[in-house]
């Protein structure tokens, strides 16, 4: 514990659109090998933070440093963002194909292995995105995000649009894969169940800053008004009662 290695280092990050400042001197460190959950109000800048770290949005100021081990990262987009013209297996193969020259048979074997890792069958690989259910789309997208064995995985609302059973299964899949493969996860989520079940630490984003950061327990005890409202609102209370 003494020397924790940092996977993502964000310091004094400023991001804005026009006159609106979305992220205002935000600082956050993600440790290597942890699952960090980011919560925040809708439109509060969660996705903006993630997309800025990935490099999809420009920053106005501040520092973003990603750990240098390979520099690879995988992204699971909210809607999966599978290429609709390719079937599931080809979607998984796509990043591999671009990165290296694999023989076709090895390419197939690796893609099948990845699909199996995320709980799909070899036959599912022949299906096109339009023929997959919502949960399967997320799984294929996860397999594609993991295609190059990234050290860092970004998840944008991984369980949105899934029913509670499928969402629970997806949570445990992420947890299992993260434990066995040891990558770092940066996850944007609204799903309180995911926060409870999967995340090592939780960061709460409010007013363009990280309002609370730590294990879920310590975040629950935060005095910040928005964080209190988020975790102690009526919907959250129901989960407390059930837990």
């Amino acid at each position: 514990m003494a020397e924790e290695r940092i996977a993502i280092h964000v310091q004094d990050l400023i991001v804005g659109f026009g006159r609106k400042i979305v992220l205002d001197h935000l600082s956050l460190d993600v440790r290597q090998g942890e699952i960090l959950g980011l919560v925040g109000a809708s439109g509060g800048g969660k996705s903006v933070l993630m997309r800025t770290i990935i490099g999809l949005l420009p920053k106005r100021g501040g520092i973003i440093e990603l750990a240098e081990n390979g520099g690879k990262s995988g992204v699971l987009f909210q809607q999966g963002a599978l290429f609709s013209a390719l079937n599931a297996r080809q979607n998984v193969q796509f990043p591999l194909r671009e990165a290296a020259h694999l023989s076709p048979s090895l390419l197939d074997e690796i893609a099948n292995a990845k699909l199996e890792m995320v709980g799909l069958t070899v036959d599912d690989g022949n299906k096109f995105p339009s023929e997959l259910s919502g949960g399967m789309v997320k799984r294929v997208a996860l397999a594609r995000a993991l295609a190059l064995d990234p050290a860092l995985l970004f998840l944008d609302e991984p369980t949105s649009g899934l029913d509670p059973i499928a969402a629970g299964e997806f949570d445990s899949l992420i947890k299992t894969l993260q434990r066995t493969l040891g990558f770092t996860v940066f996850m944007v989520t609204h799903d309180l169940n995911t926060l409870y079940a999967v995340c090592d630490r939780v960061a709460a984003l409010a007013d363009g800053k990280i309002a609370a950061l730590g294990p879920l327990k310590s975040v629950l005890e935060s005095d910040h008004p928005w964080v209190r409202a988020y975790f102690h609102g009526a919907r959250a209370q129901m989960l407390h009662l059930n837990a």
């Binding site: 990165a99 290296a100 020259h101 694999l102 090895l106 070899v122 339009s130 064995d149």
Partner: protein, 373 residues
């Protein structure tokens, strides 16, 4: 940092492999060559794979090692993997479980037989879809004739306006130009052997029998057939068709019959106007470019064409309209959830209806020739 990968083998009593270096996707070309190179020496099987020399490992590398461990079909026991560092044990453990299910027995296929099968099945499926739609529209028409009050008069008139009235300017312009071009070409080439006056015969017969109806039908397929497919397809996408069905209404009767009827009425009218425009274009060119006065043109036309030619053209029009309407409607109903499928079906609607219009024209040509029209 990551050193070049290597693979060596101990030829002791216990065959063991020593992979070394970075076994990652970046080095996959070297790795595949190494694995292929060592394959012939694995005839007796191996017992042990020692991973202590590995400096970096990812799924691709782990899978290649796992494949070596599983060996060929001759090998009965899988090799033991030793020397694992803690950070890679999870990955190796995961990979050991994967791709275990024997692949589905590959169906022996013959490329030519496959192609023939696909073409055959495609033709049958397409014909069934077309006949299905023809039957549905026929039933809807029959039901409407028995209960005339259920006929969607407003909808039919609206569609008639869309595909008929609003199409007149562009149809007239295109056929006018086609008529003019044929006349110009005819004069230019016939003049060489002093037969310019036969241009009138050619323009008259060609336009009335074939070109007028064909050009108009192809234009209508591209203009109105595609619109029908897109309209019906987007209704299908937004479940409007399902909503109609749950209300006890027949989508064919409500949506498709008025559209098909409107086309069947509009296309003969457009064909007539188009033929007239083409003759006008041809006449104008023979006058201005060929120097034959309008009076002579009309006199020659009177001699050259009979009412037969006109009838042959006009009889074809409603049948072509029916084909275009049925194809457009059935393609619209085949649209699935995605925007991509809407585009695909619209394309295939236009391509198929133009193709069938031309095929139908050929069949009519044979038919009219055999009955002497």
């Amino acid at each position: 940092m990551s050193s070049a990968p290597d693979l060596t083998m101990d030829d002791g009593a216990v065959g063991s492999l020593h992979p070394r270096g970075a076994w990652t996707v970046a080095n996959v070309e070297i790795l595949e060559r190494l694995c292929a190179g060592i394959q012939p020496r694995l005839a007796h099987g191996i017992r042990k794979i020692d991973l202590s020399g590995i400096t970096a490992l990812d799924t691709v590398g782990a899978w290649l090692i796992e494949k070596l461990a599983r060996g060929g079909p001759a090998q009965t026991t899988e090799a033991e993997i030793t020397g694992l560092s803690a950070s890679y044990s999870g990955l190796i453990g995961e990979v050991r479980k994967l791709n275990r299910r024997p692949p589905a027995p590959a169906r022996r296929t013959n490329a030519l037989a496959d192609l023939l099968e696909r073409v055959g099945r495609g033709v049958i499926a397409e014909s069934m879809v077309f006949l299905d739609m023809l039957g549905s529209v026929g039933i809807a028409l029959f039901r409407t004739l028995r209960h005339p009050r259920s006929f969607r008069f407003t909808s039919t008139v609206y569609q008639l306006g869309q595909v008929g009235w609003r199409a007149i300017p562009i149809m007239a312009l295109i056929t006018f130009l086609i008529g003019a071009i044929i006349a110009q070409q005819g004069i230019f080439h016939f003049r060489k052997f002093g037969a310019d006056s036969y241009v009138v015969d050619m323009v008259g017969i060609l336009v009335l029998r074939e070109l007028g109806v064909l050009i108009v039908a192809i234009m209508v397929a591209g203009r109105s057939g595609s619109a029908y497919t897109a309209e019906i397809g987007s209704m299908k996408m937004r479940e409007e068709i399902d909503a109609l069905t749950t209300m006890g209404l027949d989508p064919v009767e409500v949506l498709i019959l008025p559209r098909v009827l409107a086309l069947v009425i509009a296309l003969p009218i457009l064909t007539f106007l188009g033929s007239m425009a083409a003759l006008y274009g041809g006449g104008l060119v023979t006058w201005l470019y060929g120097g034959m006065g309008p009076a002579i043109f009309i006199a020659r036309l009177h001699e050259a064409v009979s009412i037969n030619s006109f009838e042959v053209g006009m009889i074809k029009a409603p049948f072509m309209a029916l084909v275009i309407g049925l194809i457009a409607a059935s393609e619209g109903l085949r649209v699935k959830g995605s925007a991509e499928s809407l585009g695909q079906q619209t394309t295939s609607s236009v391509v198929k209806s133009i193709f069938l219009v031309i095929v139908l024209d050929g069949l009519f040509a044979v038919f009219f020739a055999s009955i002497g029209m």
